[in-house]
């Protein structure tokens, strides 16, 4: 598996160059290691037999129809849900025993922005910074990076969907987490906003990422490896270079 991922990475010289500063050359440096992961909901299995390794600085794309377990997988990786079976090591923490170690080491951008509506963007980010022990001057830098310095004084409930997503993205990377979990991060964003977030959340950021997206073409180009889920079970796992878009579309059939 590691060979496949390394080969895919080297295939993109820009990516390789960007990664050089961030992380040592690929090898045995997995940020995520799942072995037959299981998560149940009552008698039903929400996730079953999921096994995957994610090397540092690479992106895993997760595809599958609604209800396949993609969000569940993300939440398990975030430490919000405890695994019921199998083994899981995420960002140096073995789940579920060491779930507390995982806190603060994950950046999560899900369907909900995780913001307080009545507070301003700036206040939300400062709150997040204080909880994570991050100096509050990072807040200004990030607000500028997502183009929200002017609107930073407005309560979140007055912001448009795209602006909220931008603030949420800033929140997700404010504490510089080693692992980024993204659940359809570009939903509700126009092209300009999406481009704005790219250096923070995208492949060029050099972060280890797990990306859930329904956009098959764009998704594929962004990932180093692909995981296909269907009804909680893993039906596909391969380096991105070896997977054709048509193959991915079959998952949704």
């Amino acid at each position: 598996m590691s060979d496949g991922v390394g080969a895919a990475r080297a295939a993109s010289p820009e990516a390789a160059a960007a990664h050089e500063e961030v992380v040592p050359p690929s090898g045995n440096n997995p940020v995520v290691e799942l072995e037959r992961l299981e998560r149940r909901y009552g008698e039903r299995a929400a996730l079953q037999g999921v096994s995957v390794r994610i090397e540092a600085g690479t992106t895993l794309g997760v595809f599958g129809p609604n209800g396949a377990g993609k969000t569940t997988l993300l939440r398990v990786l975030a430490g919000l849900l405890r695994p019921h079976g199998g083994t899981a090591r995420v960002a140096g923490a073995s789940l579920p025993e060491e779930a507390w170690k995982l806190r603060g080491r994950v950046g999560y951008l899900g369907h909900e922005p995780l913001l307080y509506r009545e507070l301003t963007g700036r206040e939300n980010l400062r709150f997040h910074a204080r909880l994570h022990g991050v100096p509050t001057d990072r807040v200004e830098a990030l607000l500028a990076a997502v183009g929200m310095e002017q609107r930073g004084h407005d309560p979140v409930r007055e912001l448009s969907r795209g602006m909220v997503q931008r603030v949420a993205a800033a929140r997700a990377v404010l504490h510089d987490p080693p692992l980024l979990l993204l659940d359809e991060p570009r939903a509700g964003l126009d092209i300009a906003a999406a481009a704005l977030l790219e250096p923070l959340l995208g492949r060029s950021s050099g972060r280890t990422r797990v990306l859930v997206t329904h956009d098959v073409e764009a998704g594929l180009s962004e990932c180093d490896a692909v995981l296909g889920l269907r009804a909680g079970r893993q039906t596909l796992r391969a380096p991105a270079a070896e997977v054709a878009p048509a193959r991915l579309r079959e998952l949704y059939a």
């Binding site: 430490g79 919000l80 849900l81 806190r103 999560y108 899900g110 909900e112 507070l119 997040h128 309560p155």
Partner: protein, 224 residues
């Protein structure tokens, strides 16, 4: 942990200041009840035991209002996840919410107790004020400790609006009993602090037990 609790408390107080959802509702409720009783009973003076009963039952019902809303801002937009993902002790959340509820109760009493004295206690509170404050503060601790736990328990369930009053009120009956019994001689004329020490001791015991229980079980409510 207390640092994280302070950060969360500040956030909650800031939101309360902007939305003004809890304290004004509680204060309005209490004052309305006193006005209604003033006219409904056609009295402006209540006897010692009736007076203290009215005071405490109203405080308790107002607490239910605040408890219902205590975790409201965490439920919106997945904000609770943000707290769960942070490298903090989850008990800090409990401490912050309990502290917030305590502050709301104190603010409520700053309005409600004078209103009560004005509307239903013609001779006034007189010299027993410090003792009354002592009882209120110790009782508020218990109300806050249990209120925060019940709020967390009910926060994510479908039947929250049903569970909160039905679970909270029986649990707080001992507080009413102790508070009312302690207050009764204070509000009667002539005022004297009879048996106050015993009731305060009971309230302190009650508070301690439930703070300890809450601290022990709170984590289990948040994990998944």
């Amino acid at each position: 942990m207390t640092r994280a609790a302070a950060v969360i408390l500040r956030k909650d107080l800031r939101i309360e200041l902007r939305t003004r959802e809890s304290v004004p509702a509680m204060a309005l409720f209490a004052v309305t009840v006193y006005v209604l009783l003033h006219f409904g009973l056609d009295r402006d003076t209540l006897d010692g035991d009736l007076a203290s009963g009215v005071l405490w039952v109203t405080l308790l019902l107002a607490t239910v209002l605040a408890v219902n809303r205590l975790f409201a801002n965490e439920r919106e937009d997945g904000a609770l996840d943000g707290l769960l993902l942070a490298p903090i002790d989850r008990t800090a959340l409990y401490l912050a919410k309990a502290a917030a509820l305590f502050l709301y109760l104190v603010l409520l009493e700053l309005v409600a107790v004078p209103a009560f004295a004005l509307l239903l206690l013609s001779p006034g509170l007189g010299g027993a004020l410090p003792e009354l404050l002592a009882v209120l503060l110790v009782a508020d601790l218990g109300l806050a400790a249990i209120g925060a736990l019940v709020a967390a328990l009910a926060a994510e369930t479908r039947v929250r609006e049903l569970v909160v009053p039905l679970f909270l009120l029986p649990l707080l009956v001992p507080v009413v009993i102790a508070g009312a019994s302690a207050t009764e001689p204070l509000l009667a004329a002539p005022q004297e602090a009879e048996g106050l020490g015993g009731w305060l001791a009971f309230l302190a015991l009650y508070d301690t037990v439930f703070v300890l229980v809450s601290l022990a079980v709170f984590d289990f409510l948040l994990e998944d």
